[in-house]
């Protein structure tokens, strides 16, 4: 008779029950033991149900994600068939004439995201180093840490509204000064808002990575007379490089998919942005703006294809980021 895991027996409990009854002959109070036996039969059944529920729940998560991918693919086939690969570099997006080129939005997305990344990285790293190396403990750093986390908690629609009311006029007067078209709305304004919003992602990851640097490495450098800056530059940064990069990737993934704040301040035009101060559109903002207006199937399908591209790109970026983190922590 071999038995592997509990499961084997659970799947055929009734077979065992007969044998069990006779074996419960312990001299305990009668009531208690019968109560126990009755309970136990019910337990075995419940245990079964519970285990199966867990498996089903885990299966559903897989089905959910496959379903999301499948839905996007199926719903965008119409557009894929109609525009083919030209979709990606088509310069014109004109729903009236049924011409769908996603290039302006892809460009807009890349511009806003990378500009935002460019602005936010020094700040994120500064927070990471400040909390990870200079001041890992104490009430002040704790406050800073919580405040930076709060940045991620503020809803994006509020960032958008604030941007619209406060940032846009500031950018407009700035644009007047440097002599470009003073729109206020545009790629640059979106990048500024995005930059604020994505600070916490790279910062908190950077902090935990920097804290994981073994102290004997740092001490070795200190004992050779290195200054703190030299230790950070030549021990901490090289050691945590992949982790810091992962933080940047996660921030990027966030920036690419951010919808509301960008939609509210980017200006929403399907033209290719001529400069970083020009209005534009990102993939997410086009979907948000035009989805409910899409009046014919190809139009809708073209929008969903944007969603598909966004989905695939963010998934890839996030996966690489997660891999890097895993590689680092192991």
């Amino acid at each position: 008779m071999s038995s592997s895991i509990d499961n084997n027996l659970i799947t055929r409990p009734d077979q065992n029950l007969g044998r069990v009854i006779s074996s419960i002959t312990t001299p305990v109070s009668k009531v208690r033991s019968t109560k126990r036996i009755k309970r136990s039969y019910r337990h075995i059944r419940a245990e079964n149900v519970f285990r199966r529920t867990l498996v089903i729940v885990a299966l559903i998560t897989v089905v959910l994600v496959l379903g999301i991918l499948l839905t996007l693919v199926v719903q965008s086939t119409l557009s894929i068939k109609a525009s083919g690969i030209g979709y990606v570099w088509g310069h014109v997006w004109d729903p009236v004439r049924d011409i769908f080129g996603a290039y302006p939005f892809i460009l807009g997305t890349l511009l806003t995201s990378f500009l935002a990344l460019f602005i936010s990285i020094p700040f994120s790293f500064a927070v990471g180093v400040f909390l990870g190396e200079y001041h890992p403990k104490g009430w002040m750093p704790n406050l800073l840490k919580n405040t930076v986390e709060l940045i991620a908690a503020v809803p994006s629609v509020i960032y958008g509204f604030w941007g619209l009311a406060v940032l846009v006029p500031i950018v407009r007067s700035f644009e007047t000064k440097i002599g470009v078209d003073p729109v206020g709305l545009g790629i640059f304004t979106s990048s500024l808002i995005l930059a604020i919003m994505i600070i916490p992602y790279a910062a908190s990851l950077g902090r935990s990575m920097i804290q994981m640097v073994p102290s004997n490495l740092k001490e070795a450098a200190y004992s050779l007379g290195a200054t703190r800056w030299e230790v950070i530059r030549s021990v901490i940064f090289p050691y945590t490089r992949s982790g810091l990069f992962a933080g940047v990737l996660l921030s990027l993934g966030r920036a690419l998919g951010e919808t509301m704040a960008v939609t509210m301040v980017i200006g929403n035009t399907s033209l290719i942005p001529k400069s970083i101060f020009a209005p534009g559109n990102t993939m997410a903002s086009v979907i948000a703006n035009e989805f409910t207006e899409a009046d014919h199937p190809v139009y809708l399908s073209a929008l969903i294809e944007l969603g598909l591209v966004l989905f695939v790109v963010t998934v890839i970026i996030n996966m690489i980021g997660k891999r890097l983190i895993k590689g680092f922590t192991n």
């Binding site: 285990r51 885990a58 200079y134 709060l150």
Partner: protein, 284 residues
């Protein structure tokens, strides 16, 4: 000798300079947040009164009006999303922590990771095709499902991580008393990890409370008070979006008030999370 000394001074200077730079940049991060918080509170707090909380928005041209429909709608949609996502997420977290190495756990974990990174607007699209189209119209229910999908990864991950931290001896003690698997989990493991699980749940609620993008084509918004979950429903973030991007000053005022309430509610959730996790922590 002299050159070493100069070099030495130079290095020290560089060290101090770098530390100063880091400190300035790190503290600089906080400035925009404080700016935003103060601005929203200042612009919004004056708009909030009893009338504002209990009345419907007025049409263009009439001043006054409130956001009662959005408040009620947000509550309903978040409640339904929670009812779907919390049990599901906790069960999935339990599966992942109990079956660390199974194939299904690997794939499930991967999918949860993917889900965490999916842009919210994409979830909105998917919910549109799964619920809005088959049901024949925008509905609060479809919005709740979209938000539930967004809550899921946070709850699953925090549950899994919390349960993995519990010592094995706890499970063994329970199993050795002849407890069936489900009772070991529900009566011992979950009560001991309740603080971590709860914090995940609260964080997920805080996250979706401000979500707008997935609701654009699901709950859609509604200028009137509605409690029918199969009909379009207004929520706070949707109201803010619609009114903030409108050209009318009265509507902007409404949006400021709503932003203020949303902000306070989200921040309170975050703070409560911190407090509750500390209070409910089971001493191991």
């Amino acid at each position: 000798m002299k050159s070493i000394k100069i070099n030495y001074k130079y290095r020290i200077g560089k060290n101090i300079g770098f530390q100063a730079l880091i400190t300035v940049l790190a503290c600089g991060c906080v400035v925009p947040l404080i700016f935003i918080l103060v601005y929203i509170l200042k612009a919004g707090i004056t708009k909030i009164n009893w009338h504002f909380l209990t009345n419907l928005p007025k049409p263009v041209g009439e001043s006054g009006g409130g956001i009662a429909n959005a408040l009620v709608g947000s509550m309903i949609i978040i409640a339904i999303a929670s009812v779907i996502a919390i049990p599901f997420g906790i069960l999935c977290g339990i599966y992942l922590s109990e079956n660390k190495k199974s194939k299904l756990a690997y794939w499930s974990r991967l999918c949860i990771d993917i889900l965490q990174g999916v842009p919210s607007i994409v979830i909105g699209i998917v919910a549109y095709f799964w619920l809005v189209k088959p049901l024949g119209g925008f509905s609060a229910l479809s919005g709740s499902v979209a938000l539930a999908i967004m809550m899921l990864p946070i709850i699953v991950r925090s549950t899994e991580e919390t349960l993995l931290l519990l010592p094995d001896s706890l499970r063994e003690a329970a199993f050795a008393l002849g407890m069936p698997f489900h009772r070991v989990i529900l009566k011992v493991i979950i009560p001991c990890g309740i603080s971590g699980i709860l914090s995940g749940v609260m964080l997920s609620v805080a996250r979706i409370a401000g979500e707008t993008a997935p609701l654009l084509f699901t709950a859609f918004g509604n200028p009137y008070l509605s409690t029918n979950i199969l009909k379009p429903m207004q929520t706070l973030p949707l109201l803010i979006f619609n009114y903030a991007t409108s050209p009318y000053n009265d509507w902007h005022d409404l949006a400021w008030g709503a932003s203020c309430i949303l902000l306070i509610w989200v921040l309170l959730l975050n703070i409560f999370t911190k407090l509750i996790t500390r209070k409910w922590k089971v001493q191991l």
